[in-house]
């Protein structure tokens, strides 16, 4: 079953690619839709079935497809494993991905490269499933890289605009920087455990064999991978630019796949991070700073998709706080709820963008609540969910994380996280009010939306509203179903129910005040932020991090390249060779001058030689 789950998307991607390449004319709409949407549907059913199996108490499922490589101790199989963690992941990934596929079928209907799009899309899902279901780090890494590759392809989907490709390159290269760390982690892990097998279960068993120093390095290296994929400081700059792709791609990247991979990875290696509280704290701080930074930047953006992108980064920061502090289940739970509302937000935004003929600036929209009623309602639910208003999904998951931070007694993290929560409500409602409530500056022509676009919204809205109930804490009368099911090595924190209520109340209060502030400022008329003060200029330009990177990395590479091309190669290395060549040439010129065609001179040369020989003989024979 697991084999089929992984292979099917790859297979359908392959089939569609072959069909598309053999005839690129925009036809066969039905064929592509059937295969492209059909395969995620089937794998959703299969994933849910396997989840059901595990729910009923079945042990972890292992399947082996074939032997991948076999050199020395490096024996790697293409094999898959569904434990509770991966089952939770694949269930919601496939579920949400299916709806995004359905949505995309409507969204991309008129695109010439419809087949190509679905081929990439299925490749994306397949890679993500490979990543999640992998039984050993190597397979996981392959999935990990392929996710990066397919995101590259999808972000650069509109390839005629050069800047889209730049965005895609940026995404892939930064991901690859992460992979650079990841592969070092894996290699180190393998070398340290050489000979004891290299699947997750055997690593878990033998983890105590590794000295702590090495383990620390491994933990940090692996997290570098997560930084790249999950867009954390300092490797986050690709995420906003990744909005260059079609909106369903953004929804898929941000909700179900790719960015959550980092969190999943840390949870998957929880048995390592469990041993390394210091590294965990480092992760948590990175997460907290990312969350805050992204929230601040998001408050000053005006592109609807970029605001959502920064909000993703911010929420990912929460997840890393959770996993860093050892609350793996809470992290995964937030991944789970976040998937619903973030997918919904992106799809809603996509709907708005289509309805307004590809307008993305929220300050050029306004008053859309009448025209796009369904989008309005669903987006409202999603916004409430992300802001953490009970009883919507976001509240429970975010609350669990905040509580962990408080209980861990790292108060700086807690303050940052709580502040970010308020800020989240502010910028999300800023978006919401500007788009739906504010009076538009000029009358908008709105185009009606396809059913395949709107219906998935309803399903996801339902999910956003209710998904949180799976993980209700004991304090709120639940029994944290999902946490118990996941059975990850959580660091247990004890916190009294009253403190919990207090914290929850504080969060809701902050969220509400953020919401009110946004209402005041943007509900009536929404104005674009202007770069009037130093501070706003800094934020609108995203703290000049991109420019900084360009200056620090891209420029030096180009400079050194030119240095090599214009100086080192021709002057120094070829210099040695050309010195010799020049010498030969000069000597040759000299000799050709000697040979001037006058026989007299030739006689002179002969005589010179003879004369020298005579001198030598006189000297040698001692004639004098």
């Amino acid at each position: 079953m697991l084999n089929i789950i992984v292979i099917l998307p790859f297979l359908s991607a392959f089939i569609m690619a072959v069909v598309y390449l053999s005839n690129t004319k925009p036809q066969r709409y039905f064929f592509y839709t059937l295969i492209g949407v059909g395969s995620p549907t089937i794998i959703t059913i299969l994933s849910l079935l396997s989840a059901y199996e595990l729910l009923n108490g079945a042990p972890t499922i292992h399947t082996t497809l074939l032997t991948w490589i076999n050199i020395g101790e490096f024996n790697i199989d293409i094999s898959f494993m569904a434990d509770k963690l991966s089952v939770v992941m694949i269930s919601f990934i496939t579920f949400i991905a299916t709806f995004i596929h359905i949505y995309a079928a409507g969204y991309m209907k008129d695109d010439e490269a419809y087949g190509k799009f679905f081929s990439y899309f299925n490749l994306f899902i397949g890679s993500m499933l490979l990543l999640v279901l992998a039984d050993n780090p190597i397979m996981m890494f392959i999935g990990w890289e392929l996710v990066g590759l397919s995101s590259y392809l999808l972000i650069g989907f509109y390839h005629t605009e050069s800047q889209n490709i730049t965005a895609a390159n940026k995404a892939f290269i930064l991901n690859r920087v992460g992979d650079f760390g990841f592969i070092m982690g894996i290699a180190l892990l393998f070398v340290s455990l050489e000979g004891t097998g290299f699947t997750f279960s055997s690593i878990k068993e033998n983890i105590s064999l590794i000295p702590l120093d090495t383990l620390n390095l491994i933990g940090i290296f692996l997290f570098v991978g997560a930084m790249g994929k999950s867009a954390q400081i300092p490797l986050y700059v690709w995420l906003p630019d990744a909005m260059a792709g079609p909106t369903p791609v953004s929804a898929l990247i941000h909700a179900a796949t790719m960015v959550t991979a980092g969190v999943y990875m840390v949870a998957r290696y929880s048995f390592i991070y469990e041993e390394l509280p210091d590294v965990g704290l480092f992760i948590a701080y990175i997460g907290a700073f990312s969350a805050l930074l992204a929230a601040i930047i998001a408050s000053y953006q005006s592109d609807i998709k970029k605001i959502l992108a920064y909000s993703t980064m911010s929420q990912l920061g929460y997840m890393f706080i959770a996993v860093g502090l050892g609350a793996y289940s809470s992290g995964i739970f937030h991944v789970f709820t976040h998937a619903f509302f973030k997918a919904l937000l992106f799809m809603g935004a996509g709907g708005i963008i289509i309805a307004l003929h590809h307008e993305q600036n929220i300050f050029k929209m306004g008053g859309l609540k009448k025209q796009l009623k369904l989008v309005y309602i669903t987006m409202f639910i999603a916004t409430l969910a992300i802001s953490g208003i009970p009883p919507f999904a976001g509240f429970f998951s975010k609350d669990a994380i905040l509580m962990t931070t408080y209980a861990s007694e790292h108060y700086l993290i807690w303050i940052m996280a709580t502040f970010t929560a308020g800020l989240t409500a502010f910028y999300m409602f800023r978006l919401f009010f500007s788009v739906f409530h504010a009076t538009p500056k000029e009358p908008l022509s709105v185009h009606s939306l396809d059913k395949s676009i709107t219906y998935p919204l309803i399903v996801l809205a339902f999910g956003s509203a209710t998904a949180g109930f799976l993980g209700v804490n004991a304090a709120y009368g639940g029994d944290a179903l999902i946490n118990n099911f996941l059975a990850l090595p959580d660091r247990l924190t004890h916190i009294s129910h009253s403190t919990e209520y207090l914290l929850g109340g504080l969060n809701v209060l902050l969220a509400l005040s953020g919401m009110l502030l946004a209402y005041k400022m943007f509900a009536a008329t929404a104005n674009e932020p202007i770069e009037n003060t130093f501070f706003s200029k800094l934020i609108i330009n995203k703290f000049y991090v991109d420019e900084f990177y360009v200056m620090l990395i891209v420029k030096p590479i180009h400079l050194s390249s030119h240095l090599i091309a214009n100086f080192i190669d021709p002057k120094i290395i070829d210099g040695f060779i050309s010195i010799q060549i020049n010498t030969y040439t000069k000597v040759a010129v000299l000799f050709s001058k000697l040979q001037n065609g006058q026989v007299r001179y030739y006689a002179l040369y002969i005589l010179t030689g003879l004369s020298l020989m005579s001198c030598y003989m006189i000297y040698k024979l001692g004639v004098i």
């Binding site: 690619a17 598309y20 390449l21 690129t24 074939l66 032997t67 991948w68 490589i69 076999n70 050199i71 020395g72 490096f74 190509k116 190597i138 890494f141 392959i142 890289e145 392929l146 590759l149 590259y152 650069g156 390839h159 005629t160 605009e161 050069s162 490709i165 730049t166 390159n169 892939f172 290269i173 690859r176 920087v177 992979d179 650079f180 592969i183 070092m184 290699a187 180190l188 393998f190 070398v191 050489e194 390095l217 590479i557 180009h558 050194s560 390249s561 030119h562 090599i564 091309a565 190669d569 290395i573 070829d574 060779i577």
Partner: protein
Amino acid sequence: MSNILTNIIFLPLFIAVILGVLRAPLKLLKVGAFFSSILVLLLVVFVIIDFDPKGNMQLITYLPWIQSAGIFYYIGVDALSLVVLTLIVLLMPPLYLYMYHEKRKGYWYNMMILQTGVTGAVLSLDLMLFYLFWETMLLPIFIMIGMYGSGMHQYNSMKITLMTILGSMSMLFSILYIGYIYFETYGIWSFSLDKLSLLSFNPQTSLWLTAGFLLAFVIKIPLVGFHTWMAPAYGSAPTPAVVIMSSIMAKLGIYGIWRFGFTLFEETLLFYTPFIITIALIGLLYYAIRAVSENNLRRMFAYSSGSHLSLIALGLFVNNIYAWGGSLYFIATHALASAGMFIMIGLTYQRFRTLDINSLGGIAQKAPLFTFFFAFFALSIAGIPGTGGFVAELLIIIGAFKENFILGFLTSFTMLSAMIYIFWMLQRVLFGQPNNSTPFADLNIKETLMLLPLVILLILTGVVPSLFTPYFEPYLTQLLGVAS
């Protein structure tokens, strides 16, 4: 069956000579060349079927040639040479297909002679015989660059020839001196590898002899510092010659170190190991960074191939099975990928008549199939999972980590090195708006068929390496057992 290897080596030359004597018309020549390459491919398939991965040197032919000087016609095949041999014969048919429109007869003859040269060099086990084939393969390259090249081809062909001959000369001196030492010790002349490997040299002599060999191989690879012939030669050679240089001849440098260096100078090479690893690490990034500012597509991939060959050399000098396996695997997969890439570049040139990256662009809009193949080969050079390059890079990284942490860390930069230029190149060549109004035809069926085997092989090597590894894994284990 016993002289199957001889047939493999000399069949192309034989057919070339017959066609030349008959003054065959162009059409017959084309058919003959292609037929010879297919026939050789079939023969190699027979060899592979019969091959026993656990055995040593197999299918040995040992005939006296110049007996008074102890030079024998001594050939044989083991896992190492089988890998290189297989990739040579795999690449020839697509190259002949690529050359289909070529009207100059000399071109075809040169290719056939070249094939004999490279297969002979791979299979020979007598040092003099090896030297003979080693020089044989240089001559056609010289002619092909000099006569059929573009740009400053005459200058460049002289440059490659002189630099390579410098290496060959030093190797010849070493070979002769080794033979002489053998003569001193045993009283007869011999240049057979297995006999010479019994010799033990005094350390000082051995250093010089090894340096003589290494110089030849290092120039052929080329590692940084010996590379200035590479970009000009690649830039002005015709595509088939480029493919042979990058995919086969460069690998023969690695093969030479492996076969002759490790057999004869096991201990002395340890002395050179730190130097070579340092040079290779420098080369890994040096070439990659150099490629960034290169505007000629072919030269860019010349540097790219230099970067990857540095990695292969690095893996060769890291003494464990992962790094060696990775190196050997990389030899094959990089040959396939770079052959594909250079063929794609050749096709681009045929269509656009330029290789300047800045004047290309927008190909994706006009030719999806072409784009697919181009991007596939470029990405497989970059080592994307699912292509063989990834497996090899992974193995080499693991091997380097096993050696020590710092080396592993530095080797991992291979993950980034190709990124630096390949993606920017793809952006400017394939995507964006076309800068060039020339109509761009998509791949036709013939071109697709020529490239498809390479694509399939690359994917197979990436997805199921276990199909291929059993052929050389026992050999490596055995070699390591001997070494340790």
